[in-house]
């Protein structure tokens, strides 16, 4: 046991770990927001609600079909992603020619509907979800205790984030996506079905949110308001990082999670607000965001 700046090392590393966990979720969610914004020019306000849907899908699967964590980790994002495809076809596709603000308003409405239905069906109390057997227990690293499940969340989130980055920045499919973001009309002229790409991009972004939701279920309780509280913080993360860069979204997400964790150690009263304060400072110093281009 040793101390750093007068803080016991176990507390410091413990909070650092919590920071990394929160950062994993910030990264996954802001990545999804950035991908959706890039293609659809819409800020997906229902992203938090869809994250919550992922957690609830996992919970309901366990309760009614007995399917555990691992099938849920695959199936819940697919199901929630499919509802995303439906939402894009039914609602969002009519808004592309309008001001961005209408997309924000519409998805805000959707978020209210989803959260309201969840509250009615499941109550507003948190429901527990057990950690899968394979990931129970933890490792003693000498300087701290690392629960296996938390290590898994960080690993899985990093893997998914980096694969998404790789697909978008380094593959042919990603090149099409980036091209369609820059100039959809021209890309269509090359014979690429841009509307389908847009639909699937939204579905994918939503599936990312649901994936984060399933991973969050064993850590936080499953509750209807778990998403709306998180999404506002993620908005601040997105303002800090700027949505122009995929890697930027990932780095900012993890970075801010760590900063938040450290704040909990040194100045616990500010841990709720530190990300917003950083946002204000970034706006003063670099209005375009850390990775953003000046519009």
């Amino acid at each position: 046991m040793f101390e750093i700046f007068g803080v016991p090392s176990t507390a410091l590393f413990g909070q650092l770990l919590i920071g990394l966990i929160n950062g994993s979720f910030y990264a996954l969610l802001s990545l999804g927001l950035a991908v959706i914004f890039g293609m659809l020019n819409i800020i997906n306000f229902s992203h938090g609600a869809q994250y919550m849907m992922g957690a609830f899908a996992a919970y309901l699967m366990l309760k009614y079909t007995g399917m555990g964590y691992w099938p849920a980790l695959i199936l819940a994002p697919l199901i929630v992603g499919a509802t995303g495809v439906l939402i894009e076809r039914l609602f969002l596709q009519w808004l592309y020619k309008l001001d961005h603000l209408y997309g924000l308003l519409l998805t805000f409405g959707l978020a209210l509907i989803i959260e309201g239905v969840a509250r009615n069906q499941l109550g507003s109390a948190g429901l527990p979800y057990v950690v899968p057997d394979a990931l129970r227990g933890g490792q003693n690293l000498g300087f701290m205790f690392l629960p296996n499940y938390r290590a898994w969340v960080i690993f899985a989130s990093l893997t998914v984030c980096l694969s998404t980055w790789f697909v978008i920045e380094r593959t042919r499919l990603g090149a099409y996506l980036r091209a369609a973001t820059e100039n959809p009309t021209l890309v269509r002229a090359f014979g690429i079905n841009v509307p389908v790409m847009i639909t699937l991009t939204y579905g994918f972004g939503v599936a990312l949110a649901a994936f984060a939701g399933v991973m969050a279920a064993p850590i936080y309780n499953v509750s209807p308001q778990m998403g709306s509280e998180l999404i506002i913080v993620v908005f601040a993360v997105v303002v800090i990082g700027g949505m122009g860069s995929i890697l930027g979204a990932i780095v900012t997400g993890f970075g801010l999670g760590i900063v938040e964790g450290l704040t909990k150690v040194f100045f616990p009263e500010a841990s709720n607000t530190v990300i917003f304060v950083i946002m204000a400072i970034v706006l003063l110093v670099r209005p375009a965001g850390l990775f953003g281009r000046r519009a």
Partner: protein, 322 residues
């Protein structure tokens, strides 16, 4: 990236004379209804409607006339409500002074939040205002003077100018009516002033307004502060009327609610927010039995307004008469 097309629906009538004429009629009608209404329905409900109508009008000044969507207007409404409640209860200020304290709070917070938020445009602006409001929500949650989850309860209505007892429902009603009409007329005046014309120019085409030599950031900031001040005035008055300031007033669903009111009534129309506030509050009042479903219904209204009638109630009516 595609250029956004067709911003906020315009409410411009063919000739400004005709428009002024119909607006005068509508205004006289509104005043007449507000004078007669307390004899037919609960004055408390009507006072609440007027507070929220002023709140929505203040919000509409930004979205409807400058094209800035603030998703954090609960910040000014809620904090003004806290400060005015605190001033009335613990400092023993008279109601008019308490409302001034609250209004000034809204102005100050608007100045701070506004100067940060106008550094970015469009949806970033919306996200920044929302995030700043959430930050101040956490402050309200932790601060001692706000009373945390309990809020500030049993705020005395006091005596106006130390003379008129506002525990009398009718006296209170007249005070709220005067505040609402003053705020409404001020907004009307702002919109139709040369300053308001510049705001509309910024809404239509900001780069062009800049190239014409307008310092658009300054105009946007002034509009933002005006909007926050009036939202503060609405919140402060509400705290005196309902004798309560609570976390509900500063939390994000309140910001969403004022957006909804304005959207339902008609973005960028002068009477829209008033109609919207009435419709939404009446709905909440009638639907209080269905509990959590109110959230779902509000969501459905949001979605259908955006998809089916973006002009809102007043906007649709105005379009019929064109």
């Amino acid at each position: 990236m595609q250029e956004p097309v067709a911003v906020i629906p315009l409410s411009v009538a063919p000739s400004s004379k005709l428009r002024q004429h119909s607006e005068t009629i509508a205004f006289v009608l509104m005043v007449a209804v507000l004078v007669v209404a307390p004899f037919f329905t609960y004055p408390l409900f009507l006072m609440q409607v007027m507070c929220f109508a002023l709140f929505a009008c203040a919000f509409n000044l930004l979205i409807g006339y400058v094209g800035l969507l603030s998703f954090g207007h609960a910040l000014y409404f809620g904090w003004a409500s806290y400060l005015s409640a605190f001033a009335a209860k613990h400092w023993g200020l008279t109601p008019e002074l308490a409302i001034i304290v609250g209004t000034a709070t809204g102005a100050l917070l608007g100045l701070i939040a506004g100067s940060l938020a106008i550094r970015r445009q469009g949806i970033y602006f919306a996200m920044i205002t929302l995030a700043l409001a959430q930050m101040m929500f956490f402050f309200a949650l932790q601060a001692k003077f706000t009373g945390g989850e309990d809020g500030i309860q049993a705020v005395p209505r006091g005596h106006l100018f130390g003379l008129i007892d506002l525990r009398n429902e009718m006296s209170m009603y007249i005070v709220v009516l005067v505040i609402f009409l003053a705020g409404f007329l001020l907004i009307y005046r702002i919109i139709h002033s040369p300053f308001g014309e510049v705001l509309k120019a910024i809404r239509e085409n900001e780069p062009r307004a800049i190239s014409l030599g307008y310092k658009t950031d300054r105009y946007k900031l002034i509009a933002f502060v005006l909007s926050a001040t009036l939202a503060g005035c609405a919140g402060a008055t509400k705290a005196i009327v309902l004798q309560l300031a609570s976390l509900t007033d500063v939390n994000w669903p309140m910001s969403g609610e004022v957006v909804l009111m304005t959207l339902v009534g008609g973005l960028g129309t002068i009477f829209g927010p008033v109609v919207g506030a009435f419709v939404i509050l009446a709905m909440q009042y009638k639907l209080s039995v269905v509990g959590e479903w109110v959230l779902v219904i509000q969501g459905v209204i949001f979605v259908s307004c955006v998809l089916l009638f973006r002009r809102g109630i007043v906007g649709e009516i105005a379009a019929r008469f064109k």
